[in-house]
Amino acid sequence: MDVSFKRPIDEKCVVLPVFGALIHDYAYEGPCRFGNKDELTHEFDEMAAAAGLKAFNEKLVDKLSGPDIELMDTVFAANSDEFNLLQDTIGEIEALKGRFDAILLDGNPMPFWAREVYQHFDCPILIHTDTGAITMSEVCDAHNRGYDNVYATLYWDDVRDRLRCIKVMKALAHTRTLKMIRHESDLYLTDDFEVAADFGVSARSVNLHEVVDQLDRSDGFNNHTLPERRAYNLSKDEEAEAEKIADELLDGAKDVFMDRDKLLKSVRFNVLTRKLMKHFGCNSFTAQCKECCATTRLNHEQVTFCLGHSLNNEAGIPSACEGDMNALHAMVVMMCLSRKAPYQSNTTPVVIEDGEIYGAMWFSPHECMDEYPNKLYCTWHATPNRKMHGFDLDDEYGVGPFAANAGFGATIRYDFNDHIGEEITMMRFNPAGTRMLVYKSKIVGGTGYDRYGCPEGPYFPLKDRDGAFMEQNEFGDHTALVYGDYRKDLKLLAEMMKIEYVEFTD
């Protein structure tokens, strides 16, 4: 289904490049200047500055072009050897205020006006110059004056990586979540509105009963919960779209463990939630599982939210289970950094004591338990997806029901045993949003492919597994997982968000 709202991954860090040049008025040598006479002239400096600007603009395109960064036209800031600006550079930047997220200073930006820039503009300012002498002087000056939004960059990769972090922070700040609830509560897992406030995320609630009524095949008038409004029941086209999605899912599946009509119910729910997201101006989704389940309406409608979360994440729409807004933030971050669809799951240790596995019913027996005794973790849920390796890639999958008895609640079934040896990274924020927990490991086994419910996931080892568990108690249960090693990006993001970074690895 096409989406018309801006997804978090579609956000871009808009960067204003500023190229500094020193153009001497006269040719002379002295304690700061030496060279052949012709190379000391005003004319030479002008030509050198123009050549430098051109080379810089070419480099910008070469190094920073991509889906995460938007380049504005470079502001050329020249000053004379009297150290006065030759044009109203600050005024030029001021006129562009509100359009850029970051400023990149390059070339030869003199400290006297670089200071004006960071005193005037409180966005992140990156300083990237040749030998680093200017960078270090200016960053030191800025930090000493309390401007911690000024960053030194050494390689062009550093510039790109920091700008991508700014994009992630912007994406978070523009995340608007449609949260389906029974009633506002924190009856089950963490409900972290404090975190949302810090990051700029906001959520609006929609009531389960109104949503379920809109699953009725009718024109939307006379819904019980909205008796005198026209509600957003699916149109004919939307119904047709749901049928098409269901057929595509079945056609592409390696294994199908459920009936088409039950699968279709889950797909219809997803089509409806996207319609509601669009209507309410939201670009992400979560739904309370426990509270909504207890109404029994979902049993009546034969719907769970799992497939909808998988399909949303595949489409680049962060979608988190169980009303966990903290996990939703992690989904946004991992999706934006990796450009892959993350998998949110319960992330728990596989504990063996006295020959017994705690919670054994959740974990399929696997030889990795003998290979890594009490070093194993498992991250398990029911919302894996086909795009965990990348939005342009498709992983093998099955389709199966969440509910054992009535066979409803479609889920993507994913066999992590097919991915043994692959690297994975998981992360989560703490409830206060002041710390970031990251696990990096490799898959050593899988569980739950052909089971009901939400026990599907990878087994992975951690060197300090027990220490990780104790630390994770300060963060919470769910993490967002992607394939690959994203520690470097996450560590940089934590630094720019000014939060503590905590890491456990294999």
Binding site: R33, E39, F44, A48, A50, A51, G52, K54
Partner: protein
């Protein structure tokens, strides 16, 4: 300049070669300036000779179209090394941070501006990366200045 890259590294012979080359090149410019309305071909022939001499190139050296390569060839002829060997030479430090090759291009354009009494702007100079493009731009400016 590569004839004076550091104390104890002043190469008077090379400096003299450049001074002689400059004089010869100026003669070509003067001869061109004395023509009432040179055709493009005449202009191009003169400018190519001018550049060849200024860049210390031999008559049998083929002029490359890339101004970057031209600068490298100049340095190679001046220092008596091959172009690949240039990166291992301990070149002079430059306050402004321009590379040796870029410096060559800028100095060439400055000399042409001066000797032809025209003005290729810094922006136009930055955009001009090929010899053929340079000759065309210079000719347009030259004609315009003659028609004043």
């Amino acid at each position: 300049m590569e004839y004076n890259m550091g104390p104890g590294r002043r190469d008077r012979a090379l400096e003299h070669r450049y001074e002689t080359a400059e004089k010869e090149a100026k003669k070509i410019a003067k001869s061109l300036n004395s023509e009432p309305h040179p055709t493009f071909d005449e202009f191009e022939t003169a400018i190519r000779s001018y550049i060849r001499i200024r860049m210390l190139l031999e008559p049998e050296d083929e002029l490359p179209d890339s101004l970057n390569v031209l600068g490298q060839m100049n340095l190679s002829r001046a220092l008596g090394v091959s172009i690949p060997e240039l990166s291992s030479i301990d070149m002079e430090a430059k306050c402004g941070g321009t590379s040796a090759v870029m410096t060559k291009k800028i100095l060439l354009i400055m000399a042409l501006n001066r000797d032809l009494d025209i003005y290729l702007t810094p922006e136009e100079a930055a955009e001009t990366t090929k010899l053929s493009m340079l000759v065309e731009r210079l000719y347009r400016l030259y004609e315009r200045s003659r028609n004043r």
